[in-house]
C-alpha cells in the first residue's frame, strides 16, 4: 500500500456573529446555530447537493438529545444527505481539533474535502433533573412490582423539583472555575492588571478596526438580525476597564485579583465552520486556496499533582510542534493566540521568554524568546469577539487563513488552551 501525504488547503470559513450569553441568541439552540453556519458556508462555496467527505464538529455544552448533533445539522442543510458527520469534543480545543482530524483524513487521501466546525450556547444550557430524583426515577423504572415502584417513588421530595443539576464552568478536579485558575496563573507569573487591561483594549480596538475594514464580510453570515459580535465595545476606554472590579479573586486571592469582566472572555453563544480540501478538489472547482494547514500538536499538563497552570498546555504544545516543523517562535507573520483571559495569553508569552521555565519545564536548551507583539491577534480575538467554546477554533483558522491570503505569503501560529489542562496548536502557511 502506498500512501502519500497531501497538502491540506483551507478554502474558507464562516461563522455567525458571536453573542454574549443570554442576549440575542437566548432562544437559539446549538442545532440552529450550527445549521445556519454550515448553510452559510455551503451557500458561499456553492456546495448545494454535494457529498462531502466528512463533517466533524462538536459542542462543549450539549443536551443529551444532541448525541448526533453535527449529522443532524448536516441533514438540515442543502448538502447531500449522503454526507457523513460526527461529533467530537475537546473542550475549547474542539473546533481546532475537528479541523485537525478532517485535515488528517484529507492529507492521507481518505477524503477529498470536509468541514470542521463547532458551536456552543451557554444560554440554551442543558439543565438536568435533580441527581437524587434521577436515581429514584431509574430505580422506579427498574422495579419489578407495583410495590417496589411505589417504594422507590416514595423517596421523592418536592424540593428535588427546585434543585436541578446545573452545568458548571469549572474544573471537576480542583473545584475552581476557569477564571480562578487563570487568576492563580496571573499571580504565579506576576501579570499586572494594567498589562491585562491593555491587551483587552487592543483586542477590542483591533476587532473594531477589522469590522470597519470589512475584514469579516466574507467570513460571516448574519443570524437573528445580528451582523456583528455583540461583545465588541468599539467605544471602550482604558478608564472603563480600570473601573471594573476583579471577578475571580474571592476564593483564590481575596481583594488581590487582577482578572475582571473586561480582561476575561464572557460566556458566549455562537458557531463557526471551515471548509478544508485537497488541492485537486479546490482546483477542479476553481476555488482559491487561502492557506494550508501544515502542522498541529496537542499537549496536556498535570495541573493537579504537579500544579502546572491549568491553561499552560499551549506553552508545551508549541515548542514540540516547532521542533517537528524545524521553526523558531519568531518565524511567524501572525500569532493567533486564543484570549480565554488576557492573563492566559500573557502568562504563555512570559513562559516562552523565561529561560528557567523553558529549560526545566519545556525541556529546551534555551528560551523560545519574545514575539513581535504587533503580530499578535491583529484583528482582535476572544476578549472582543467572545468565546463560544467549541466555535473559537473555526474562527481562528478562518481569520488567520484570510490574513495570510491578504498578505500573499507567510506563516501563522494558532494556539488554544482548553479545560482539563489541554492545549491545541497549529501552523497555517501560504
Amino acid at each position: 500500500m502506498k500512501t502519500t501525504i497531501r497538502r491540506v488547503a483551507i478554502i474558507g470559513g464562516n461563522r455567525i456573529p458571536f453573542a454574549r450569553s443570554n442576549t440575542v441568541y437566548s432562544h437559539a439552540s446549538n442545532h440552529e446555530m450550527l445549521t445556519a453556519t454550515l448553510q452559510g458556508l455551503v451557500d458561499r462555496f456553492n456546495l448545494h447537493g454535494e457529498r462531502l467527505g466528512d463533517v466533524a464538529g462538536g459542542a462543549v455544552m450539549k443536551h443529551a438529545r444532541d448525541f448526533n448533533l453535527v449529522r443532524e445539522c448536516v441533514l438540515s442543510t442543502t448538502l447531500a444527505r449522503e454526507t457523513p458527520a460526527f461529533d467530537l469534543q475537546q473542550a475549547c480545543g474542539t473546533g481546532l481539533e475537528a479541523a485537525i482530524v478532517v485535515a488528517n483524513k484529507i492529507a492521507l487521501g481518505q477524503i477529498e474535502c470536509g468541514i470542521a466546525g463547532g458551536v456552543d450556547t451557554t444560554s440554551d444550557a442543558p439543565i438536568g433533573l435533580n441527581e437524587k430524583m434521577r436515581r429514584i426515577l431509574l430505580d422506579a423504572s427498574r422495579a419489578r412490582s407495583t410495590g417496589q415502584r411505589l417504594a422507590a417513588l416514595s423517596r421523592m421530595r418536592p424540593a428535588m423539583l427546585f434543585r436541578p443539576a446545573l452545568p458548571r464552568n469549572g474544573e471537576p478536579r480542583t473545584g475552581y472555575s476557569m477564571g480562578e485558575h487563570a487568576e492563580l496563573m496571573a499571580r504565579e507569573w506576576g501579570i499586572s492588571r494594567e498589562a491585562q487591561d491593555a491587551l483587552a483594549l487592543s483586542s477590542q480596538q483591533n476587532l473594531a478596526r477589522a469590522y470597519n475594514e470589512g475584514f469579516f464580510t466574507d467570513l460571516m453570515t448574519s443570524f437573528k438580525g445580528v451582523s456583528r459580535d455583540n461583545n465588541l465595545r468599539a467605544e471602550l476606554s482604558i478608564e472603563k476597564l480600570r473601573a471594573l472590579k476583579p471577578a475571580f479573586d474571592r476564593k483564590v486571592a481575596p481583594e488581590q485579583g487582577t482578572l475582571t469582566a473586561g480582561n476575561s472572555t464572557p460566556l458566549t453563544d455562537g458557531a463557526s465552520a471551515v471548509l478544508l480540501a485537497s488541492e485537486d478538489w479546490a482546483r477542479e472547482r476553481k476555488l482559491p486556496v487561502l492557506a494550508y494547514l501544515s502542522w498541529s500538536e496537542v499537549a496536556a499538563v498535570d495541573f493537579f499533582d504537579k500544579k502546572e497552570g491549568l491553561l499552560m498546555a499551549p506553552a508545551y504544545a508549541v515548542p514540540r510542534m516547532l521542533k517537528r516543523a524545524n521553526l523558531t517562535l519568531q518565524d511567524f507573520d501572525f500569532y493567533e493566540i486564543h484570549e480565554a483571559f488576557a492573563a492566559q495569553v500573557l502568562c504563555t508569552l512570559k513562559a516562552w521568554e523565561d529561560p528557567a521555565y523553558c529549560r526545566e519545564r519545556l525541556g529546551l536548551a534555551q528560551a523560545l524568546g519574545a514575539i513581535d507583539r504587533a503580530r499578535l491577534n491583529v484583528n482582535g480575538s476572544s476578549l472582543a469577539t467572545g468565546h463560544p467554546f467549541a466555535a473559537t477554533g473555526g474562527r481562528l483558522i478562518a481569520t488567520l487563513a484570510k490574513l495570510l491570503a491578504q498578505k500573499g505569503s507567510g506563516r501563522g501560529l494558532i494556539s488554544i488552551c482548553a479545560a482539563g489542562g489541554q492545549g491545541v496548536v497549529a501552523i497555517l502557511e501560504r
Binding site: 492588571r193 494594567e194 476597564l241 472590579k245 476583579p246 481583594e255 485579583g257 475582571t260
Partner: protein, 292 residues
C-alpha cells in the same frame, strides 16, 4: 527636652475626659512645640489584642503583626500629650492630615518594646497650623518601627514653619481593586480596640453634636483596611507607608479600593492606592505602600 514616662496608661474614659476638658485651650499661634518625649518603657505585644485589631481591620492572621498596629501602642501617649499643657491645642478639632510609617524589622506577638512619642516640626498649612508627632518603637534599644503623624489645627492664623507639601507625588492611573463595607458600628468597634473614643466616630447622634451628618470612620481604620487588602498573606519584614487623609468616610458606606503596582518604590514591592467612595470618584485616603 522633657521626658515623661507613662507606665500605667489611663483608662480610655479617663483619657477621653482629659481630652474633652482640654477643649478649653485657645486656637492660638505658637512659634514651636515644646520639646517633649512621652515614653512607655516596657510594652509587651499582646497576641489577643493584635488579633482583635486584625479582626476589626480585616487583616488575615497569616499577615502577622500588621505594620499599622504599633500605632495602637502609641495612642495612650498621644492622648496624654493632648491632655497636657505641653500641647498648645485640644485634640478635638485637630485633623489628622497624613502619616508615614516605616517598619525596619518584623515585629512579633510577645515582643517587649519601648514606645515613644515626641513632638516634631511645625509646618504652615493654608487652613491652619500643621504639626508633627514622631512615634518610635524600639526593641532591645534598636529602632524597629517609626512613624510621623501630621496633624492640622484648623483656623490658626499666620501658622509657623515651612510650607506643608504633599509627600505623594506620582499621579498614576489606578484600577479598581476591591470593595469593602465600612459598617455603621465600625467606629465603635475600632474605638474599643484602639481606645480612640472620639464621639465623631461612635454614632450618628454623637457625631452630629460635632457638626458631622453621620459618624465618620477612623482614618487609621480606613488605612488599615486598605493595608489588609494590599499586603501579602504573610508577614513583611520591612515596609514604608505614606498616607494622606482626604475626606471623611461617612458611616455606613461601601468603599472602593483603587491601586496600581506600576511604580518603583524604595523596597521590592510597591503599590500606590486610594480608598474612594462607592462610585469611585471621590478619594477618602491616598497612599503609597512599599514592602518586602
Amino acid at each position: 527636652m522633657k521626658t515623661i514616662e507613662i507606665s500605667q496608661p489611663k483608662g480610655a474614659a479617663a483619657s477621653l475626659l482629659g481630652v474633652v476638658l482640654a477643649r478649653r485651650k485657645p486656637a492660638a499661634a505658637v512659634n514651636a512645640l515644646p520639646e517633649v518625649t512621652l515614653v512607655r518603657p516596657q510594652v509587651v505585644l499582646d497576641a489577643a489584642h493584635i488579633a482583635r485589631y486584625a479582626n476589626v481591620c480585616g487583616f488575615h492572621m497569616a499577615q502577622g503583626v500588621p505594620i499599622s498596629y504599633p500605632q495602637m501602642l502609641t495612642f495612650p501617649l498621644l492622648m496624654a500629650f493632648f491632655g497636657s499643657g505641653d500641647c498648645p491645642w485640644p485634640a478635638m478639632g485637630t485633623v489628622h492630615l497624613a502619616n508615614r510609617i516605616v517598619q525596619l524589622q518584623r515585629l512579633d506577638a510577645g515582643d517587649t518594646v519601648r514606645v515613644e512619642v515626641r513632638t516634631g516640626r511645625l509646618l504652615a498649612h493654608e487652613k491652619g497650623q500643621t504639626f508633627e508627632l514622631e512615634l518610635r518603637v524600639l526593641r532591645a534599644d534598636t529602632l524597629v518601627w517609626e512613624a510621623t503623624q501630621t496633624l492640622l489645627r484648623l483656623g490658626v492664623k499666620q501658622p509657623a514653619g515651612a510650607a506643608y507639601a504633599s509627600a505623594l507625588s506620582a499621579d498614576l492611573p489606578l484600577s479598581h481593586q476591591a470593595d469593602f463595607m465600612a459598617s455603621a458600628n465600625i467606629g465603635r468597634r475600632y474605638g474599643r480596640v484602639s481606645g480612640d473614643l472620639n464621639p465623631i466616630h461612635l454614632s450618628a447622634l454623637s457625631a452630629r453634636l460635632f457638626g458631622f451628618q453621620r459618624a465618620i470612620a477612623h482614618g487609621l481604620w480606613t488605612q488599615a483596611r486598605a493595608l489588609a487588602a494590599l499586603l501579602p498573606r504573610a508577614p513583611v519584614t520591612q515596609a514604608a507607608l505614606t498616607s494622606e487623609f482626604k475626606t471623611p468616610l461617612l458611616l455606613p458606606a461601601r468603599a472602593t479600593l483603587w491601586s496600581t503596582r506600576q511604580i518603583q518604590g524604595t523596597l521590592q514591592q510597591a503599590a500606590l492606592f486610594e480608598v474612594r467612595n462607592a462610585r469611585g470618584d471621590k478619594p477618602h485616603l491616598r497612599g503609597q505602600l512599599d514592602y518586602q
